[in-house]
């Protein structure tokens, strides 16, 4: 079942001098089992939108249907814990949510909150750790002695261990080195392909969006500016530049080649195909 969002609005601090409307009338349908990117500039409402998905925020107006839950304005969700088990939310810089003495305890914290027995939780931890690229020797170490990238892996494992159907990731690669970011992204891709999880990725990195995502949603000032599949999205780089999105390097290269007179079909989005296309044209020319 996909995630349906209808006319979603959110107003912060309603009725005070600090009133601020963050989302106005969001209509979206997020496909199940796909990787969807949510992009937009700072303050476009990405984080606000994402926090509605697991009931951290309740809409001011509009409705939300997710994993069999129907979320309405001003109505407390009956079994919010069950919703949070289905929809795992990984915040930006999740390493700041670590607090336990050992990594094992910290990852097991989530399942225990959802009523899993300690032994069973520890088993789950052992299973999840290799998925984020850490081995069992880490179990008894303190999370605070790890490097930044490792801390983040532990924090993400703390959500993955809950086995959510929908995984929402807010800038999961921010502040990681390119290699670490690549590893992190391939972990999420595995989760999507092998474990069939629906993934929502809030990102600024267009390279990631192009390489890993199936579906793109552009938010701007609390409104949906565009919603399309990833190929259609990257076929119109001129539009992207106009709304202030920096296209991926390959798209910029394509634009430059076009300017020089090459004929490049819109659907070419990877380097190999581009090289082939250019080579053919050069040969033809000669």
């Amino acid at each position: 079942m996909s995630i349906e969002i209808n006319h979603l609005e959110h107003v912060y601090n309603a009725g005070t001098p600090f009133e601020h409307s963050a989302l106005h009338g969001i209509d979206l349908s997020i496909p199940e089992g796909k990787v969807t990117a949510i992009i937009g500039q700072t303050g476009s409402g990405k984080s606000t939108l994402v926090q509605h998905l697991n009931g951290l925020l309740i809409p001011s107006a509009g409705t939300l249907d997710i994993c069999g839950f129907h979320i309405q304005p001003l109505l407390k969700i009956k079994d919010v814990k069950a919703l949070r088990k289905e929809v795992g939310l990984v915040f930006q810089f999740p390493e700041y949510q670590l607090f336990e003495e050992t990594i094992e305890k910290d990852i097991a914290f989530g399942p225990k909150n959802f009523g899993v027995e300690e032994e069973k939780a520890n088993e789950l931890v052992k299973k999840i750790l290799p998925m984020v690229g850490l081995d069992e020797s880490y179990l008894q170490r303190s999370p605070f002695e790890l490097s930044g990238g490792q801390k983040r892996r532990v924090a993400i494992a703390g959500i993955l261990v809950l086995d959510p159907k929908v995984l929402v990731l807010d800038e999961p690669t921010a502040g990681l080195d390119p290699q670490g970011a690549k590893e992190m992204m391939s972990l999420f891709m595995d989760l999507n392909r092998i474990h069939n999880k629906t993934i929502l990725l809030v990102s600024h990195d267009m390279e990631h969006v192009m390489r890993y995502c199936d579906h793109v949603i552009v938010l701007d000032h609390g409104k949906v500016l565009q919603e399309s599949d990833v190929h259609t999205f990257f076929e119109h780089p001129e539009w992207m530049i106009k709304v202030g999105i920096n296209p991926p390097a390959i798209i910029r290269l394509k634009l430059m080649l076009k300017e020089k007179g090459f004929l490049i079909p819109d659907e070419i989005l990877d380097l190999d195909a581009l090289v082939k296309c250019v080579r053919e044209q050069v040969m033809l020319h000669e």
Binding site: K81, F99, F114
Partner: protein, 265 residues
């Protein structure tokens, strides 16, 4: 988290907002002393009228000031209970077996309640109408004369302004960590005592860790830009007293004088 009225700046456009922070601090100081002088009902009426006038001039809603007093209600109830049980002077109002309420117990409680109320409204007006940075600038200027006797006025002001600067950041951080932990199934509202302790722990530990991180980063950033607390620094913002500031201070001194007068005579 977002409903804390005490100590919050409200960006409105009023005469009180535009006043010199030094004048506002001095007025607060004078009236505060006046509140503690036992000048009886007349004294409190005078102070109360002045506070109401300030509240009106600052365009703050009475609702906002009342909300700031919420936290002391329980304290007052507790105080009333203790006073009723302990103070057995004055006229007896209720006598019911061993239980009795004497007039002094109620008056004593009211007395403290009114004083506390005045203090809270006064400080709320000050903090709601003065930007934290202006406030510290005012404090720094007022402490300046004491530098001669070894008081590090600038360092104190810098400490206060850094502390104030990080209150919103910490609130935001708290909210963020609460959200993150709630996503891991923490229930901050319900649960047994053990679960409650655990949920608070899951909030406090990350908060401490990130605060220490932040403190270190800030110290490094300040040193990297050549900050030296013992050097003389110039100010971008120069404070200037206007007519309303002098008038306000004059009024507060008068109130203090009246209260002292009633007390001594």
């Amino acid at each position: 988290m977002n409903n804390i009225a005490l100590g919050r700046y409200l960006p409105l456009d009023s005469k009180v907002h535009a006043m010199d922070p030094r004048a506002k601090i001095m007025i607060l100081l004078f009236v505060m002393i006046a509140v503690f002088i036992p000048a009886g009902a007349i004294g409190y009426v005078v102070i109360g009228a002045f506070i109401l006038a300030c509240l009106f001039l600052s365009k703050l809603q009475i609702r906002f000031a009342l909300r700031a007093m919420k936290p002391i209600i329980w304290m007052m109830i507790f105080l009333l209970v203790i006073n009723v049980l302990v103070i057995k002077t004055g006229r007896p109002w209720i006598e019911w077996g061993w239980f009795s309420v004497y007039s002094d117990a109620v008056f004593q409680t009211l007395y403290i309640a009114v004083r506390l109320m005045f203090m809270i409204v006064l400080t709320t007006i000050l903090t709601a109408t003065t930007k934290p940075l202006d406030l510290t600038l005012g404090i720094e200027k007022l402490l300046k004369p004491f530098e001669k006797v070894g008081l590090p006025a600038h360092i104190i002001a810098m400490m206060i302004s850094i502390a104030l600067r990080f209150i919103p950041t910490l609130i935001e951080e708290t909210q963020r960590i609460m959200n993150a932990q709630a996503s891991r199934g923490v229930d901050f509202e319900n649960g047994s005592l053990k679960e409650k302790v655990m949920s608070i722990l899951s909030l406090i530990v990350p908060l401490f860790v990130s605060s220490f991180d932040r403190a270190e980063q800030l110290a490094n950033a300040m040193e990297a830009r050549g900050y030296d607390p013992n050097k003389q620094r110039t100010r971008y913002k120069v404070l200037k007293m206007h007519g309303i500031d002098r008038l306000g201070m004059f009024c507060s001194v008068c109130i203090l004088g009246v209260c002292i007068g009633i007390w001594l005579l």
